[in-house]
Symmetry: C2
Subunit: 283 residues, 2 copies
């Protein structure tokens, strides 16, 4: 997905938000906004928003020296999600269609996002998504693909959401699941230690995709990830950032996300706040 | 009022909005965003947001060659407001306190603003504001000041809102009222011809303040305006942009506005969407 013009003010907003959390004083915060402003000119609208985001968060790291501004927030998100886990597990167990319910829960976890400028209430939003209609629901093909798959690559998104992903991966327990995280902290995206903290190591092999962006940009990913990406029987891509990087790839793939901004919604031809399980290139 | 950090993404948003209306193609729109981005670095947080805005709209004019992107929208706003005029006039006539009701109506007109990133429904919003409580209501001192004044400077804000201002000025019909507008089009702010189209020439002398910003920046105003500003018995300042430029002046002044963004609300120590009639430096 290419960058939309609407993404540009949004990056400035994200720089402000992350800058407020990390800058040691107003002068440093102004420098962050100055540099984010200068970045606009260097950037092509042909790139993905995730690549743009990578540059914004890189300059914040450079200016502030803070490697992981969202560290505490991520730990808190994981803690809150883990507190919900037993209740959510029961919902899956007692549901008519366990896989579909676990898909819903995994999408519900996608609301944990501090990049998009929205507030959320984890428990309330989860309840709503559990009964929300899907704007796109390719469940039959997804179910087929899961049943047939021996290896599944699951590309994670945010920390906290990772706990919800675990519930879906548990419904694929007879498969070899590889859970991919970002190489370095960007926004509240999960890195290796967040995935371990979410206890994903109990159900999957955790790898880094090599991504330094808030999404999966294939030409920035490491060889190990690319090998798995190219050979896995099924690839599941969680969230907006991964969609941004992978929406135009040629291989079969399932996107699981909630459209949290108007740009993603427009690109997917759905409405903001819609949820989807969408397969592409499925034969 | 100084610029808040939150104003910076907002300017990028405004550049996008005005750019979409005026740019001849995506390349020109990108140039507008590039240049707006570069502008951040050149700007001090000690300046007012209105000064910042002036630079943004100046570069859009320079890049696109379009002098008045909001021309049609302004004409439409004035037309709609004029259609409401007879009804609003009746409300004033039948009210217990005509001056206060006219103040409310003048504030209601302040919702006509295409700079701030909000949608509005003129008729509905007017109805609501007619019964909304004021967060600050210095009505007694305002009433006193009006009764004692011989000359009143009324600093207008947006086109369309200007028609609502007329209703308030009509309640001061025994005074000499000077209605000040911007020198050149910025956002949907009223210029001379908009004030005439709003029939303000029937009740006031219309002058240009010399302002090329979406607000009154005194050091950018012309001599005639400054003379009147310094000598008028009463000065009424409408809207956010004028507040931004005049909030720190030393002379007595009444601000009439609806807080349409969180930054103005914070500066005034009120909540977003609150309405105020606030006097400063009143002895």
């Amino acid at each position: 997905m290419k960058t939309y013009f609407e993404c540009i003010p949004c990056f400035m907003q994200q720089a402000l938000k992350a800058g407020k959390m990390t800058a040691k004083d107003n002068r440093q915060l102004k420098t962050i906004l100055d540099e984010t402003g200068c970045l606009v000119k260097t950037f092509s609208m042909q790139s993905t928003p995730a690549e743009y985001g990578a540059e914004v968060y890189k300059l914040i790291r450079k200016i502030t020296g803070v490697e992981d501004p969202y560290k505490e927030i991520k730990q808190q998100s994981i803690k809150e999600a883990k507190e919900l886990y037993p209740e959510l597990k029961n919902i899956v167990k007692n549901s008519e269609n366990r896989l579909l319910t676990a898909v819903r829960i995994a999408i519900a976890g996608n609301i944990i996002d501090f990049g998009v400028n929205k507030k959320f209430n984890l428990k309330e939003d989860v309840q709503r998504i559990l009964t929300q209609n899907f704007a796109v629901l390719d469940f039959d093909t997804f179910n087929d693909a899961v049943q047939k798959a021996k290896t599944i690559l699951y590309i994670g998104d945010n920390a906290g959401e990772s706990v919800f992903d675990k519930l879906l991966i548990e419904e694929m327990s007879d498969k070899k699941v590889i859970y991919a995280v970002r190489e370095i902290p960007v926004i509240n995206d999960a890195v290796y230690e967040d995935a371990v903290e979410s206890e994903l190591d109990e159900v999957a092999e955790i790898i880094s995709s090599g991504a330094k962006a808030p999404g999966t940009i294939l030409n920035q990913c490491n060889e190990n990830f690319l090998n798995i990406f190219n050979t896995a029987d099924l690839v599941i891509s969680k969230g907006q950032g991964n969609y941004e990087g992978l929406s135009d790839v040629k291989r079969p793939l399932f996107f699981l996300l909630k459209a949290k901004c108007s740009v993603i919604a427009r690109d997917l031809k759905i409405n903001e706040n819609d949820i989807i399980l969408k397969g592409i290139n499925i034969s």
